[in-house]
C-alpha cells in the first residue's frame, strides 16, 4: 500500500505527546487541493488530487465535457439516445449529459433508451429505476423488449440453453435491440455508459482471446454508422474511472440500481475485472495505461480481418452470411441452442436455404452442458 500524504498526516498526529492516550476526536482533515478551503472527500485515482465535493463535481463534469469536445461526439440539434439500464454508469451518464447539455448549450434532444431482457427479479426491478430517472430528469423513455423483438425472454432462453452460454445470447441481442430501439425513436446517436474500467477490461479480454479485430476497435470512443440499421454509438464516460462514477453518484445521491444479474456467471470478464482491480489498487493509473496501450496499438499489415458485410436475412451488419443474432435465434427456434455458440459458419448456407441438418449435426448442436 502506498503511503499517501494523508496517511503520514495521521501518523504524525498519533505521535504527539498527549495522543499516547486515546487521540481525542480532534480531526485534522485533508483540505481540498483545488479550493484550499473545504474538507477533501476523495483522492482522485487518475490524478492523485484530493478534492472537496464541489470541486470534484466540477472536475468530473468538466472532464466529460472536454472528452465530448475533443472527440466532437455531438453536433448541435442532434437527437441522442442514452442507453439506460438503471445502473450506476448510465444513471451518472444521463445526469451529466442533461447537465452539460444545459450548461454548455449543446442543443441536443436527449432521450432514455432501455432494453428489457425479460429477467424476472433483475431487469424488472432495474427498469423501475429507469422509470424514476425518466421523471427525475424529465427525459422521454423508450423500452424495447427481447420478447417483442425476438419472441424470447432471457428467462425462456435460460430455460432452454442453461447457464453456460446465456450471456452470449443476451449480449448479442442487446446490441441489436439498442439499434432497433434507436431507429424506432429516430435518434441520431446512442451514447452508452461504458467507463474507463470497462474499456480497459475489454482491451485485456481481447488480448487474452486473441481477438485482433475487436482489440483494434474496442478503444474507439465512437463508431461511425456502419450501414443501415446501425446507429452510431459513443462513450462520453470513456475516461471516467469507475471509482469516481460511483462516488459522483453517491455524493449527488443519484438513484441507481445495483444488483448483479441473476444469470451472470460471465467468468471470463470477471477474471479480467478482478485482475484489473488488483492492479489498480497497487497503481491507480493502470486503467488509463491499459487504455493508452489499446489506443496506440496498430495491427501489422497482412493480418487477416473479418470483412464486414450484411446479414442475408435481416440486413444487420455481419461478417458472415447470417448475423450472430439470426443464428442464435434460429438455434433457439429449432431447439438447437448450440448453433450460435462456437463456429458453425458452414451451416449458414443450410439455414438460409432451409436445408435440413444431418442427424449428426443435430446431435452435436442439441447437447447442452448445464
Amino acid at each position: 500500500m502506498t503511503t499517501s500524504p494523508a496517511f503520514t498526516h495521521t501518523a504524525t498526529r498519533r505521535k504527539s505527546p498527549l495522543s499516547g492516550f486515546r487521540a481525542a476526536p480532534v480531526e485534522m482533515p485533508v483540505l481540498c487541493s483545488s479550493c484550499v478551503d473545504k474538507r477533501a472527500v476523495l483522492k482522485r485515482p487518475k490524478t492523485g488530487h484530493s478534492l472537496c465535493k464541489e470541486c470534484f463535481f466540477w472536475a468530473f463534469e468538466e472532464e466529460v465535457h472536454q472528452t465530448i469536445l475533443a472527440a466532437k461526439l455531438f453536433r448541435h440539434g442532434e437527437t441522442v439516445g442514452i442507453a439506460a439500464s438503471g445502473g450506476k454508469d448510465s444513471t451518472v451518464l444521463a445526469h451529466v449529459m442533461k447537465l452539460l447539455n444545459e450548461r454548455y448549450d449543446y442543443g441536443l434532444k436527449l432521450m432514455l433508451l432501455s432494453v428489457d431482457e425479460g429477467i424476472t427479479g433483475y431487469r424488472d426491478d432495474s427498469l423501475e429505476t429507469v422509470k424514476r430517472n425518466q421523471q427525475q430528469y424529465e427525459l422521454p423513455l423508450k423500452i424495447v423488449s427481447y420478447e417483442e423483438l425476438y419472441g424470447w425472454t432471457m428467462d425462456a432462453i435460460v430455460q432452454q440453453v442453461g447457464l453456460k452460454n446465456n450471456c452470449t445470447f443476451c449480449g448479442v441481442f442487446r446490441r441489436q435491440a439498442l439499434d432497433r430501439g434507436a431507429i424506432m425513436l429516430k435518434v441520431d446517436k446512442i451514447c452508452t455508459g461504458h467507463n474507463a474500467d470497462d474499456v480497459a477490461e475489454t482491451v485485456l479480454m481481447n488480448v487474452l482471446r486473441g481477438d485482433i479485430a475487436r482489440l483494434r476497435r474496442c478503444t474507439a470512443i465512437s463508431t461511425a454508422s456502419e450501414g443501415d440499421g446501425v446507429v452510431p454509438r459513443c462513450k462520453p464516460l470513456k475516461y471516467a474511472y469507475e471509482k469516481e462514477i460511483v462516488l459522483y453518484a453517491y455524493f449527488k445521491k443519484l438513484d441507481y440500481f445495483s444488483t448483479e444479474c441473476i444469470y451472470s456467471p460471465n467468468a471470463y470478464r470477471g477474471h479480467a475485472r478482478t485482475f484489473l482491480k488488483d492492479l489498480e489498487s497497487v497503481r491507480p493509473s493502470s486503467i488509463m495505461d491499459v487504455i493508452h496501450s489499446g489506443e496506440n496499438l496498430s495491427v501489422r499489415e497482412g493480418v487477416k480481418m473479418p470483412v464486414q458485410g450484411t446479414c442475408n436475412r435481416c440486413g444487420y451488419i455481419s461478417s458472415q452470411a447470417l448475423c450472430k443474432s439470426c443464428v442464435l435465434l434460429e438455434g433457439l427456434n429449432r431447439g438447437l441452442p448450440k448453433l450460435g455458440i462456437g463456429k458453425h459458419h458452414r451451416l449458414h448456407d443450410k439455414i438460409l436455404s432451409q436445408t435440413p441438418l444431418t442427424e449428426k449435426e443435430e446431435r452435436k448442436l442439441r447437447s447442452v452442458d448445464f
Binding site: 500500500m1 498527549l18 492516550f21 476523495l42 483522492k43
Partner: protein
C-alpha cells in the same frame, strides 16, 4: 499500545499507573474526586481512558450490491466492545467478517483489507484520505462500503 509519557508529567505517571487497570465505573469516581485537584492533564488522560473503556457505536453502511453479502441489510448500527487499544479499521474489518458478513467473505475481504473494487468512506470521506486500515475509529463514526463490482 505503547504509552509514551513526556518528562514534564512523569510525576503523574505513578498516579496514572494506579488508574489504568480500573473499571470504567472506578475511573468515573476517580474523575469526580480529581476535578477539584487541579491536575488537568491527568484528568484529560483519565477521560480519554474512560472513552476507551466504554463500548462505542459505529454506523456501518453497505451498498452498491455488497449488501447481498449481509443478508440484504444495508444499514448496521453496531456496538463495538471495549478494548484496551483503540479500534482501527483493520480490526473493524475482522469484526465485520466475524459478526455481520453472512456469506462468501472472499467477495468482501482480501488479505486484511477490503477486496479491491469496494470503496470505503469514513464519515463521508474517501478512506484513502484517512489513513485507510490504520484510521482510529471514534464513537459514532460512519463507515460506508460501496461495491463497484456490480453491473452498470
Amino acid at each position: 499500545m505503547c504509552r509514551q509519557y513526556g518528562s514534564a508529567h512523569s510525576d503523574s505517571s505513578g498516579v496514572w499507573e494506579r488508574h489504568r487497570h480500573r473499571s470504567s465505573q472506578q475511573l468515573q469516581t476517580d474523575v469526580q474526586s480529581l476535578s477539584g485537584n487541579n491536575k488537568p492533564r491527568l484528568l484529560l488522560s483519565i477521560i480519554n481512558e474512560l472513552q476507551n473503556k466504554m463500548d462505542f457505536m459505529t454506523w456501518i453502511k453497505v451498498s452498491g450490491g455488497a449488501e447481498l453479502l449481509f443478508n440484504g441489510v444495508k444499514e448496521h448500527h453496531v456496538t463495538l466492545p471495549s478494548q484496551s487499544d483503540p479500534w482501527d479499521v483493520k480490526q473493524l474489518l475482522v469484526w465485520i467478517q466475524r459478526n455481520l458478513l453472512k456469506e462468501r467473505p472472499e467477495l468482501f475481504v482480501q488479505g486484511d483489507s477490503v477486496r479491491p473494487g469496494i470503496l470505503v468512506l469514513i464519515n463521508d470521506a474517501d478512506w484513502e484520505l484517512m489513513g485507510e486500515l490504520d484510521y482510529q475509529l471514534q464513537d459514532q463514526d460512519n463507515v460506508v462500503f460501496i461495491s463497484t463490482l456490480h453491473g452498470g
